[in-house]
């Protein structure tokens, strides 16, 4: 991912053009991520009323939806290390490379940013993404959803600045750089799995004990 995007925002002849395309990418990524959170939060808001009247588990366990999020987080943590298969719905497996060829550099930076900010336009190896989406729905607050997913989008987008600068500095050794520790998928998966399982257990136990 970062190899593609890094090159995309660098496909320019000077610093200002690089800065403009990287900024366009960042703005688009942040905007669509916030939009996703807003939509999920709004969906949750409307679902809450329906849940309150229809789900019988509420009678036995208040805040059952939080317990479900906890279970989901633990399950996706186990799935992230490959010991359990869980659905990981996406709209596409990858953002089409043709977009880059057609619209480069600024148009491509915008559409790549917009597509990647939504999250589901590429393969998702981290279950934490789905847990965050579910968390937005459970919270049922559009503003909170926009801020939470906006944080995800910002973290995702802002990485492009140091990373593309790194690509620029290590242009002669890109292959070695891309296979370095920063780009190790397996390591990232188990680190996120541990954070996810802490989050899940905390939510689950807090809900059950409350």
């Amino acid at each position: 991912m970062i190899g593609t995007i890094g090159f995309l925002v660098q496909d320019t002849s000077n610093l200002w053009r690089w800065l403009l395309s990287a900024s366009l990418y960042t703005i688009a990524c942040l905007s669509t991520a916030m939009l996703l959170g807003f939509v999920l939060g709004t969906l949750g808001y409307f679902l809450q009323g329906w849940f309150d009247h229809t789900i019988f588990v509420y009678a036995a366990l208040p805040h059952a939806e939080l317990a479900l999020i906890g279970l989901l987080a633990v399950a996706y943590a186990v799935s992230d290390i490959g010991l359990l298969r869980l659905p990981r719905p996406t709209l596409r497996q990858a953002v089409p490379i043709t977009w880059w060829r057609w619209w480069k550099p600024y148009g491509a930076a915008l559409v790549y940013g917009a597509a990647l900010g939504i999250g589901v336009m590429t393969r998702i190896p981290f279950g934490a993404f789905y847990v965050l989406c579910a968390w937005c729905v459970v919270k049922g607050d559009a503003a909170y959803g926009a801020v939470l997913m906006g944080t995800y989008g910002a973290a995702r987008a802002l990485m492009i600045f140091p990373a593309s600068w790194g690509l620029y500095c290590h242009r002669s050794a890109i292959a070695a750089w891309l296979s370095g520790p920063l780009f190790n998928l397996w390591r990232a998966q188990w680190i996120l799995a541990v954070v996810l399982v802490i989050f899940g257990t905390l939510i689950l136990v807090s809900t059950v004990l409350s």
């Binding site: 998702i124 188990w190 905390l202 004990l209």
Partner: protein, 61 residues
């Protein structure tokens, strides 16, 4: 390709995570600052998760 052995080697880490989560949850129960700690944890953790997911997704996927 990650082998089954490598995957199983991660299980202690997951159990460690479960233990940490359990300890945090129980410590908020017995602490005098229960509400404060609970709010901080439940407020901060999703954002930490969001940052880590965003960084990991960009740098690896």
């Amino acid at each position: 390709m990650i082998s089954l052995r490598q995957r199983l080697q991660c299980l202690p880490l997951l159990f460690g995570g479960i233990s940490v989560g359990l300890l945090l949850a129980l410590s908020t129960r017995i602490s005098n600052e229960t509400k404060f700690i609970e709010v901080v944890l439940v407020t901060i953790l999703p954002f930490l998760l969001a940052i880590l997911t965003g960084v990991a997704k960009t740098t690896t996927a």
